[in-house]
Symmetry: C2
Subunit: 352 residues, 2 copies
Amino acid sequence: MASPTLSDVAQAAGVSYATADRVVNKRGNVAEKSIRKVRDAMAALGYVRNVAAANLSRGRVYRLAFLIPLGPNAFFNRIRDHLKITAERLQTEQIRVEIIEVAAFGVEDMQAGLTALLEQDFDGVAIVGLKSAALEQPLAALRQKGVAIVGLVSDLPIDYRSAYIGIDNRVAGRTAARLIGMAHGGGKGLVQTFAGALAAHDHAERLAGFQEVITADFPKIALLNPLMTKDAAAVVQSQASAALAQHPDLTAVYNVGAGNSGLIAALTLAPRKPFCVVHELVPHTRKAVEAGHIDIVIDQRPDVEINRAFSVLRALIDEQGVPRMPELVPTIYLRDNLPGAPFPETMKDKTT
Amino acid sequence: MASPTLSDVAQAAGVSYATADRVVNKRGNVAEKSIRKVRDAMAALGYVRNVAAANLSRGRVYRLAFLIPLGPNAFFNRIRDHLKITAERLQTEQIRVEIIEVAAFGVEDMQAGLTALLEQDFDGVAIVGLKSAALEQPLAALRQKGVAIVGLVSDLPIDYRSAYIGIDNRVAGRTAARLIGMAHGGGKGLVQTFAGALAAHDHAERLAGFQEVITADFPKIALLNPLMTKDAAAVVQSQASAALAQHPDLTAVYNVGAGNSGLIAALTLAPRKPFCVVHELVPHTRKAVEAGHIDIVIDQRPDVEINRAFSVLRALIDEQGVPRMPELVPTIYLRDNLPGAPFPETMKDKTT
DNA sequence: CAAAAAATGATAGGCGTCAATCATTATTCT
DNA sequence: AGAATAATGATTGACGCCTATCATTTTTTG
């Protein structure tokens, strides 16, 4: 009943342990015939290699690095928190995690960070929310060295990473559009969108997806030109206030980027409240949902992403191929399914 | 730089390996003073036990059983599929999974299934979607034996399980209500709900949550009495058709239970299409979303639940306590964020 | 057919931990 | 103090696999 070991396989195949070992570890110098015998025996016995034993034997430790933009951004804080908790838990499995913080928008810093990675020998690297052509050089070098690379939250050039773990931002934008459209109940509408900058791929994609759906499926809803905010709360606030004042018939707002505290502030002051959709559940957006200023938060589930990053990195390092896992879907939060607080008080004032 | 071993700890603490071992494995017969010395040394060196080595040494294999209702139910099929895939992958980590199918609504079968578990010695059991007072006896016996028990998808009596992995159905119902409410854009409405049977806790909870939110926050929306369907598609279809005919002003329908193919059929035939919310993304509901017959699917993410079941069971068996993980949230699908193929191809396949 | 090359066998030490044994040393009790 | 008890030390053989070495056999080649 005990699991068969490699010795069992060797015996069943009628070869020595050494030969069986040569086969499973691809050491070469084995006759085709023997390879077949061993393979057959493995199949017959249902042999599965005991990775624990293997890793123990070869003294493997998984050395992983997470590159995360530095700064007070609430979303990245969330990532960092989850990362720390998970890393802690994975210590027992010989996984060592280093969190490397990189100045958010300085290309040189990123390059420096990546280059530094080359020195230390990591087995895998997850790169969070950094995208720049300037990264290609060091990424290529890392890859060359056999380091597993995954893009987290925002994708990397496809040639330089083995996997992307994050949501499809076009889908996220479309989702926002569908919800906003629905909330108009077939009526007319006017929507103001906000983005950090169109240079940011994810923002551009969200906006594109958003516009696609609105134009295609909700002809009665008009779109104002997106306002660029640099993801700065102050900018968002002033622009949002201006937009609210200028368009008394505004029915909805959608911010694809950050700086939501500004948006919330503007909405709090506004006499009417348009339907409001934003991204990422962080303390202040959460509060705003509870208060009724924000109707919907579309979230990436960084916790899920982090978990997945670990399993993918590990699989890549073990050369097992990326496990098949269902797609990551932008999660929709509204006041009733916020995690943590089961039952919010119901809204007294009715809106939309 | 290498991780400290227990020998290192012993040395640093100035005791023998044997004593250090007595401390970490709680074998007793150790002086307080020594315990302290060892603990301090562990902290100082940052010792973490190498579980791989430990499990190897004690020849541990995790023997897990999943009890799943038998039958052609699309949702349970989904669970089963994910389970198989995951189990396959976890073989390398000495996790052996047995899927035990139990006749869905036969209490005796369930009991028999559980009692059978007692004979074989499993380390952990996950019980999916079965709830009955008749289970208490065998559950208690299992627990007594030290088997870790988790409820999956639908909860077990709290005294007989160590964890529940599933969504909060009241939250799910509230979520549905909020979405339906939103979709009325502040206008009037009339909603028909469907449930399998109120005896099913999850159905009752969903309905309750749903009614809570509608009555509290959407006073212009009227609720018809829920129709009981026994989760049978044929019943759903006839009732839905009747309701649609009888209430020309019906604006929305919400089915908390199964039998959605009947609902879809009825909607397809209907001249007007009310806003439609159902549960669980399975092939036919998915198709209906794409076709525009269903507007929203609220899903449990069985894949996520399965994954979590494994980590929780493992943690329980290792006596590490249940890791803190973010709550499971009912996921909202609409036509724009439907996941691609349920099981995307592997991105890179290298057989070992 | 002998020599070279390729394949195979046999075996051993180590990875970190567990579990056990036996001998030795401290501590407590009468 | 001496005996009984508790605590500690020292050591060993698994567990399954990796890695390496060296001897032996088989196959290929000229």
